[in-house]
Amino acid sequence: MCPDIACCTPPGQARLSRFLRTETGKGWLTISPPLLYAMLLLIGPIIVIVANSFWSQDYLTIDHTFTLKNYQAALTEPIYRDLLMRSLFVSVTVAVVTVILAYPVAWFVSFHGGRYKGLWLFIITVPFWSGYLLRILSWKVILGYKGVLNTGLLYLGVITEPLSTLIYNVNAVIITLAHSWAAFAILPLFVSLEKLDRSLLEAAADLGDGPVRRFLRITLPLTMPGIIAALMIVMIPTVGDYVTPKLVGGKDGVMIANAIQVQFGKASNWPLGAALAVSTMVIVSIVAGALVLLLAGLKRLLK
């Protein structure tokens, strides 16, 4: 269309400038600044971490010969294996608990929110913005041995001695995380409930289905994408949480992120730390995939 460009510029450049005028070219050009940023600072570093995990630490220098011994240590040494299993258990439990507790709330906002839907969602997401570290700190203040719950119950005379089982265990970690991630579960659930065609529910009611059957055969299967999204959004990031185990987990609540941090800090064994990080990502992806397949199967069964 524009011959002057083709004759005045080298052929490669002409092809490029023609490409940049197509829809695909314009799209790629527009998205390139954030995309390059993500490639350089996300994909690049992750590749470096994966590479590190196949090397080994030789006192202060890194030996670049390929080895699998870091993975062997990460997956077979009891301490790391247990930490990985515990982290997976915590993240799956937190995801399931958070989604089950959030579903009725998302349902309420979607079906009974009326013109205040936006306001409801805002109210529900506000606590999430109070700050990651501070939310966890308040749970420490609540659950502590001399914390709000114990001193409150003592004051009221419900207990005569502070309960020592509230904090510094896995339960405290699960409670804190489930609270922290509630907003992340509600939003995708709400979106999928909004997409649900209400006339299907009316039709089922007209044909004599009760509320339970309507829920199991229409609402639940049709909102399954939202349930899966909510589970993933909560589960994948929580597996690597660092602060919650540190503040309220105690010895029994330590998770894999704390072990990774030790390898990059005090222990200064980067390759082992890298192998732990990569193993965590791979295993959580496998569990996530299995969960998706399981729920997809359940959906087919319900229909």
Binding site: G27, T30, L42, V48, S138, V141
Partner: protein, 268 residues
């Protein structure tokens, strides 16, 4: 039967209880920051401002606040600019690989932050970069951009591309169209994105913890103070200020987002 609560009633009660539990821990810090006791416990003893006064002459805390401000403002501006690029490409152009490209940009939302943090740390140290506020900003940009994109996509979806076309047909250059049509229409979403990303950067801890070197941001400073039990009331006071600041910023962001929505609703 009449005395049994209806399912609707049960559901409302549950929702109110749920919201109350969501707010409870958040409201606790401010309450105890005014309590005249060295440990946060019940019953409340008396009202005091002394924990806030203790912050006034604290140079280390003020240095951290300044660092957080600097990081937050830079991260907000740069991530909003990057967010505008991504949101525009996602809403205005159809091209192959769009899903993969936007997926990669949004990925930091669902990656464990510790993995992003240590990967960045290894690369920064490998490149011989000194850990500084600059490295913190680089990290914060990664997690701020996805939020910025989310806010801005809804802004871009709200206005009609034919307005830009009309401007171009009337002889305005692309830059003129951007300045006189696109940006003014997007202004509420842009302000909302700036405020949201600033809030995220202000609160972000893990990346800052790994990447900040000797210059702490506020959350990193707070983390350091948690080692000293005696400092806890001061931390509660500082935390309460941070919570209040986040909530104000977020409410303003939400008002701007709604204004953007109203602008769209007025469109014929």
């Amino acid at each position: 039967m009449r005395f049994l609560p209806s399912p609707r009633r049960l559901l409302s009660t549950y929702v109110i209880l749920y919201v109350a539990i969501l707010y409870f821990p958040v409201l606790l810090l401010p309450i105890f920051s005014f309590n005249d006791s060295a440990t946060p416990k019940l019953p409340l003893v008396g009202f005091t401002f002394k924990w806030y006064e203790g912050l006034a002459g604290n140079a280390a805390m003020q240095g951290a606040a300044w660092n957080s401000l600097l990081v937050g403002i830079t991260a907000a501006f740069v991530s909003t600019i990057l967010g505008i690029c991504a949101a525009r490409a996602i809403t205005r152009h159809r091209f192959r690989g769009k899903g993969a490209a936007s997926g990669l940009i949004m990925a930091p939302l669902i990656l464990p932050e510790i993995i992003i943090a240590i990967s960045l740390l290894v690369v920064m140290l490998g490149l011989g970069l000194q850990l500084s506020l600059f490295t913190v900003i680089l990290g914060h940009l990664l997690i701020c951009v996805p939020y910025s994109v989310t806010v801005l996509v809804s802004g871009f979806e709200g206005f009609d591309p034919s307005m830009e076309e009309a401007s171009r047909d009337l002889g305005e250059t692309s830059f003129g169209t951007l300045r006189r049509v696109t940006l003014p229409m997007l202004a509420p979403s842009i302000v909302s994105s700036l405020l949201v990303t600033f809030t995220i950067s202000l609160d972000e801890f893990i990346l800052a913890f790994f990447l900040s070197g000797t210059e702490p941001t506020l959350p990193v400073y707070i983390w350091g103070q948690l080692r000293f039990a005696a400092k806890l009331p001061n931390v509660l006071a500082l935390g309460s200020i941070l919570i209040a600041a986040s909530l104000v910023l977020l409410t303003v962001a939400e008002l701007f987002r709604r204004r953007a929505e109203r602008k769209m609703a007025l469109r014929p």
